[in-house]
Symmetry: C2
Subunit: 187 residues, 2 copies
């Protein structure tokens, strides 16, 4: 496949950014290419377009599949695997959030849980545990949020994202809202 210079520079940029997003350069390039391509691509097309080895493409696709960011499909009467980026932009966002949570938060959260079960054995540990508790609570909240996000429909997710500038407003509102609900309950 031949890319216009513009698209090439996007693909390359995405490769550079890839490392900041948790996968390596070529995996980033492969994903960018799949995202902008109108048609599914074969592993060979990826290798040729990006000038990387066939073996590397195979490994990269495995990685992208583990992120659940690409899908394989087939054409009747053609044995080759065709790859495409999964669904909508919202699906991608959800997957990235989910995967990063698994990799960046879960392991730490589970270690923190264990550590907090131990009684602090010294003044040093006592102070440390306080900080660890705070970190634990924060990470747990973040985890809850991401779980909740997974459940949202694309529509609601979109609404929520666009709400940004109103977070403050909504929070102020929350007091009134909760207040009202509480009053109802206690009536």
């Amino acid at each position: 496949m031949n890319l216009t210079p513009n698209l090439t520079s996007f693909v390359m940029h995405f490769g550079e950014m890839g490392s900041r997003w948790g996968f390596n350069r070529t995996v980033g390039q492969m994903y960018a290419l799949l995202v902008i391509s109108a048609e599914p691509l074969t592993a060979n097309e990826l290798a040729e377009t990006l000038n990387i080895s066939r073996g590397n493409v195979s490994m990269g696709l495995k990685e992208l599949q583990s992120w659940q960011l690409v899908q394989v499909s087939h054409l009747p009467g053609d044995r080759k695997d065709y790859f495409r980026a999964i669904g909508s932009i919202w699906d991608m966002a959800k997957r990235v959030i989910e995967e990063r949570r698994k990799r960046e938060i879960d392991p730490t959260l589970s270690l923190l849980r264990d550590m907090l079960l131990d009684k602090p054995a010294s003044a040093q540990e006592k102070h440390a545990q306080q900080r660890l508790q705070e970190i634990h609570d924060l990470l747990e909240s973040v985890t809850n949020w991401t779980n909740e996000l997974q459940r949202l429909s694309p529509d609601n997710l979109s609404t929520l994202l666009k709400l940004s500038s109103g977070v403050g407003k909504v929070l102020d509102m929350k007091d009134k809202f909760i207040g009202k609900e509480e009053r109802k309950k206690n009536r």
Copy 2:
């Protein structure tokens, strides 16, 4: 400084995770140590406790300062620099969000903006631009959110996080709130 085995394992774990969070192993260890330490530490204490070279500590501290995650302080009559992790857990969370946005989103967003200014020159580019537009919009929303988060007081940030199981609730609130505002306007 001598750490208990428990704390040592936390510090080491944080080092391993460090690479997933955007800094390297020793920087992660250094930060973990500063976070759990009740007292500010000198560069030499860090180097000794973690068994890494003095030079490495110097570079690592520079990195942590660029993330604005540590502060230097001094003791009267002592020329050494003492380092401590900045403020509260909320401050840390904000810094991390802010820095990651700068590193992981801003550059891509700015490239996407440029690309979307060009008229698509081919069918290929036309299709690609549609996807790029979607990505652009998503990243822009995320950026708006993080900006908004920066502005939130620790109190509100905490409330927002704990609201987790109520992302749905946030949306409900928004509807009622907006609805009320609209009704007011139209009255």
